[in-house]
């Protein structure tokens, strides 16, 4: 959407850039200063165009932030303003939390839990997924069970984990691992099962035995699908963790949000929410980059 919207802006930048070299050509040789000036103008126009396009893409965000800043100040009733403080108050609260080191502490607590749970899920999901996909009979036994567990919302099991593992780290890491496990597992199975049978035939005709067929054909072929699962798991792990921290924890971003709310430190609460949003954005960005890196060969297959 944003790509098509930027187009109308292009002619302005392009014509400026196009006009600049024309000035350079018109000057007789021996006046390099004018030519240099022209190229500088071109570069500036180019940079301006790029900045303009960037600005356009950020419009939605900026509008939202503006609404957040000015809405509570001018549009909302004073009583609402208490529960919906304008952006600058939230940012000030964030600054205070950052200076006191509170936000770093909560972020570290949340990150270590989600990284640990996510890591366990990836290792377990990939290895079990490969096993299940490779042995068809295991699949037919486990599939109904997996369907049942997968369709049970992870948060519904939070009380179970809390009862069994207490309100400490174990229950939170476990529920993150549980929620992140299924996307990884199911995508790994799908990845292995959708390997082009022709490639398997070709590999067999090349004399590859089963272990090497698996290592050199099935696994690399499944990697992009597995990474799609890992990306989904990353999003799921953060989502579930925040919820788990809201229910019972002594640290973490979820705890920060709920605790701020009950202590009536409303700007602090929004500062926590803002941090969660940025964390989710960052994790997704990282995992998308990773996924893209491992599926480079697949980019033009459909073309």
């Amino acid at each position: 959407m944003s790509a098509t919207l930027t187009k109308p802006r292009r002619p302005a930048g392009a014509s400026a850039a196009g006009a600049a070299p024309a000035v350079g050509q018109g000057t007789p040789p021996g006046k390099p200063a004018t030519a240099a000036l022209a190229s500088v103008t071109g570069a500036v126009a180019d940079a301006a165009f790029r900045a303009g396009s960037w600005l356009w893409k950020a419009t939605g965000i900026l509008a939202f932030l503006a609404l957040w800043e000015f809405g509570p100040l001018y549009l909302a009733a004073p009583s609402t303003r208490v529960f919906l403080p304008p952006l600058h108050e939230v940012l000030l609260a964030w600054g205070r939390l950052f200076e006191s080191g509170a936000i770093q502490g909560h972020l570290a607590a949340s990150l270590s839990r989600s990284v640990l749970g996510f890591g366990i899920a990836v290792v377990a999901g990939v290895s079990l997924g490969l096993l299940i996909a490779w042995y068809g009979r295991l699949n037919s036994v486990l599939n109904p069970l997996l369907e049942l567990f997968r369709n049970t919302a992870a948060l519904a099991l939070l009380p179970v984990f809390t009862l069994l593992l207490g309100i400490g780290e174990e229950s939170k890491v476990t529920i993150v691992a549980y929620a992140a496990f299924f996307p990884v597992l199911l995508n790994t199975i799908a990845g292995v099962k959708t390997v082009d049978p022709l490639l398997i035939r070709a590999a067999k005709s090349l004399g590859l035995n089963s272990p090497r067929l698996f290592q050199k054909v099935i696994l690399p072929s499944a990697v992009p699908t597995i990474f799609t699962g890992i990306r989904m798991a990353g999003t799921a792990s953060i989502l579930v963790l925040i919820a788990a921290e809201m229910v019972g924890a002594k640290a973490g971003l979820g705890y920060l949000i709920v605790n701020a709310q009950s202590s009536f430190l409303i700007p602090d609460m929004y500062a926590g929410i803002l941090t969660v949003a940025l964390l989710g954005l960052g994790v997704n960005f990282l995992l998308v980059a990773l996924e893209r890196h491992f599926s480079r060969w697949r980019t033009a297959v459909g073309a």
Partner: protein, 311 residues
């Protein structure tokens, strides 16, 4: 009689066809190849033609060791085939390149295990060998390209280089040029003949096209409609084959082509009347024309289009 490199003795292959979606469908047995006997000489270029559903691909799978015959035996160098082996290589119609590997890495995949002398080649040796064979197929300088960066003709060249790289005695080719455009196909046909002369491999080449069969093969084996039986073997004798002349318009070529066409003509009609469908390697039956039957097969000189040109 000369010793045969490949020997098929009374080979039959049957598939159990899964019942269709229609209610009351039952599994039936389908004979794809029926008591077929055929010898291929060492260093020979043999082409196999037959109507759709005459078991050409089944036959190639048997030769490659990707499936086993229901009865009869397949011998290579007098030894029964028990599975895929390094003495045989297959080139598929759809290239079957590994898309995550570069051209060079695709070519060298067959070299990554232990060689016949029990020694493993180093990475550098494998790359050198891959370069050697990519040069042989005219792709020097394309070592680091991924398959999606190559055209259809180039992909098939890589596939040919891959199958040659581990130095098999026999090259089994399953309609390798069927998905290519006419010019690329002609170019690759010439290249294949050049490679065959340079390496002295035994080649079994399956094709839909009569022109291609007569142009490439020293002998053309014609299969009957399903169940696939050997209908006839035509010795292709064209004088001055290696010259620069346009062989396809030489009187001898036209005559041989017509011979093969006549043999195939009735079989094609039989196959059409029977509404033959393609059998996939796992025994599943596919409606024809299915996704594995690209539309660009017809201009290749398939029996149908031959019919028109001959009329």
């Amino acid at each position: 009689m000369m010793t045969a490199k490949i020997s098929l003795r009374n080979v039959s292959k049957q598939f159990t066809v899964r019942p269709g979606r229609k209610p009351g469908g039952t599994a039936t047995t389908l004979t794809a190849v029926d008591s077929l006997s055929l010898d291929v000489r060492d260093g020979e270029f043999l082409t196999l033609v037959g109507p759709s559903g005459s078991g050409k691909t089944t036959l190639l799978d048997l030769l490659a060791g990707l499936s086993t015959p229901t009865s009869g035996e397949v011998l290579v160098d007098g030894q029964p085939v028990t599975g895929p082996g390094k003495d045989r290589a297959v080139v598929f119609q759809q290239y079957a390149l590994f898309p995550w590997r570069t051209a060079s890495a695709n070519v060298s995949i067959g070299l990554e295990g232990k060689g016949p002398d029990g020694r493993k080649l180093s990475r550098r040796e494998r790359a050198a060998k891959a370069r050697e064979y990519l040069t042989l197929v005219g792709l020097a300088g394309f070592e680091d390209r991924f398959p999606h960066e190559l055209s259809g003709g180039m992909k098939q060249r890589v596939a040919i280089a891959r199958s040659l790289a581990y130095e098999p005695d026999v090259l089994l080719m399953d309609e390798p040029f069927a998905a290519l455009d006419a010019q690329t196909r002609e170019q690759l046909q010439e290249e294949l003949l050049r490679i065959w002369r340079a390496t002295g491999k035994t080649i079994v080449f399956i094709t839909h096209g009569i022109d291609e069969a007569v142009y490439l093969g020293q002998r053309v084996a014609v299969l009957s409609a399903r169940p696939g039986r050997l209908k006839a073997i035509v010795d292709v004798e064209i004088p001055d084959r290696d010259g620069d002349e346009d062989i396809r318009s030489a009187p001898a070529f036209v005559e041989q082509r017509h011979k093969v066409w006549t043999l195939l003509h009735d079989e094609v009609r039989l196959a059409q009347d029977a509404g033959h469908r393609k059998i996939l390697p796992d025994g599943a039956v596919q409606d024809e024309p299915g996704p594995e039957e690209p539309a660009n097969r017809t201009p290749q000189g398939s029996p149908e289009s031959q019919e028109r040109s001959a009329a």
